[in-house]
C-alpha cells in the first residue's frame, strides 16, 4: 500500500483547515512537519498535524474532526448536531 502523508494546518480561530500539503516521501513530510511547527512554536491559534493513509478520503474518516462535517453520513442520535 503506498502511504500518502498529509500535513494539515488547522486555524482554531477560523475553524477550518488553512493548509494541506501532500507528500509521498515520509522523510520529506516529517522534515516539513518539524519546520512548520518550529515556525509556529509560539502560535496557539493553529493546530498542525502530520497524518498518513492510503488516500485523503481515508484521513477524512480516521481524522475526521479536521474536516468539515460530512452531513451525508448518518450518525448516532446522541451526537446529533455535534
Amino acid at each position: 500500500m503506498p502511504l500518502h502523508h498529509f500535513l494539515l494546518v488547522y486555524d482554531l480561530k477560523r475553524q477550518e483547515l488553512v493548509k494541506q500539503l501532500e507528500f509521498s516521501d515520509g522523510d520529506e513530510a516529517v522534515a516539513a512537519y518539524s519546520k512548520i511547527e518550529r515556525e509556529h512554536s509560539e502560535d496557539h491559534d493553529v493546530e498542525i498535524v502530520l497524518v498518513g493513509a492510503d488516500s485523503l478520503e481515508t484521513i477524512r474518516n480516521t481524522h475526521a474532526h479536521y474536516f468539515a462535517r460530512d452531513v451525508s453520513r448518518e450518525g448516532s442520535r446522541y451526537l446529533a448536531g455535534v
Partner: protein, 257 residues
C-alpha cells in the same frame, strides 16, 4: 526483558539524550517565566529528530495493520458499487501534545513515551477489532501492553483498544476502534477544536478538561452508544437525561460565524 539487547531507536539518539531534552522541554512548557533560549531550542531539535525516527517503524505498523484490517473485515460493504474498506490511518504526535503529556506525567521519560507514532483502524464490529488483535499475536508482533478501554472505559467515556507495539526499536500505539467508538471520539475532538473555553481546546476535552456539563454529556452519550452497539436498550430516563444535556451544551457546539 532482562538480558536482551534492544534495537536502538532509529533516530540514533541515545535514550539519555532524549530524556534530558524531554526534561528541559517539560520545564519550559510548564514554567511560563522561562524564555526560549538556545538550550531549549536545542532540546526541541532533539525532540523533532526523535519523532522523525518513528517515521519508518510507524509506516510498517500502519501497512501491517491495514492488511489485518482488510482481511478481518468480514462484510466488505459496497456503496454505489464502490468497495468500502476499513479505514486505517496514522499520525505523528503533535509537539504541543508531547509537551502536554510530559507535563501531565512529571516522571515520564520522553524515550518511553509510547504514542509518539500512532495509527488506528476503524472496524465495523468489536469482533473484527478482536480479530485484528488475534492476528497481531499470531504474526508475532511485539506487543508491549494492551490498554482495554472497552472493558474499562476512561472516565471521559472513551472506548477503544490500544495496543502498544515495539517495531525496530520504536514504541507505536495502535488504536483499534469500532465505528461507533470512533464516531464518539471524533465528535469529542471536533468539539475541542470549536470550544471557546481555552481549558477545553488547549488541554483537551478528551482528557476531561472543559465545561463540566459538556464533559458529562459526552460521558453519558458514550455509555448510551456502547449499550446500543451491544444491542441493549437505553432506558427512557437515561435517554431523556442525555437529550436534556444535549440542549444545554448546544451553545458550545455551534460553529462560530
Amino acid at each position: 526483558m532482562a538480558g536482551t539487547v534492544r534495537t536502538p531507536h532509529p533516530s540514533g539518539i541515545s535514550n539519555s539524550r532524549v530524556d534530558k531534552a524531554g526534561g528541559l522541554l517539560r520545564e519550559w512548557w510548564t514554567d511560563f517565566s522561562i524564555e526560549m533560549d538556545s538550550r531549549y531550542g536545542d532540546a526541541s531539535e532533539v525532540l523533532y529528530d526523535f519523532r522523525a525516527g518513528c517515521t519508518n517503524p510507524l509506516k510498517k505498523v500502519t501497512v501491517g495493520l491495514r492488511q489485518f484490517a482488510v482481511r478481518e473485515a468480514v462484510a466488505v460493504v459496497t456503496e454505489g458499487g464502490r468497495q468500502v474498506m476499513p479505514a486505517v490511518g496514522q499520525r505523528l504526535k503533535r509537539t504541543p501534545q508531547i509537551l502536554n503529556k510530559l507535563a501531565r506525567f512529571p516522571t515520564m521519560r520522553l524515550s518511553q513515551m509510547d504514542d509518539v507514532g500512532g495509527c488506528r483502524a476503524v472496524m465495523t464490529t468489536q469482533a473484527e477489532v478482536d480479530g485484528i488483535l488475534r492476528r497481531m499475536r499470531k504474526n508475532k508482533w511485539e506487543i508491549v501492553r494492551i490498554d482495554d478501554y472497552v472493558a474499562e472505559p476512561k472516565a471521559t467515556g472513551y472506548r477503544a483498544k490500544h495496543v502498544i507495539v515495539r517495531r525496530d526499536g520504536c514504541l507505536i500505539e495502535v488504536q483499534l476502534r469500532t465505528e461507533s467508538q470512533h464516531e464518539w471520539a471524533e465528535a469529542v475532538d471536533r468539539t475541542a477544536l470549536r470550544v471557546d473555553d481555552k481549558t477545553a481546546s488547549f488541554h483537551g476535552l478528551k482528557d476531561g478538561h472543559g465545561p463540566p456539563e459538556l464533559v458529562e454529556y459526552f460521558r453519558l452519550a458514550a455509555d448510551a452508544m456502547a449499550l446500543e452497539e451491544q444491542g441493549e436498550a437505553v432506558d427512557d430516563e437515561f435517554e431523556r437525561r442525555i437529550l436534556e444535556l444535549q440542549q444545554q451544551v448546544r451553545p458550545y457546539l455551534r460553529r462560530k460565524e
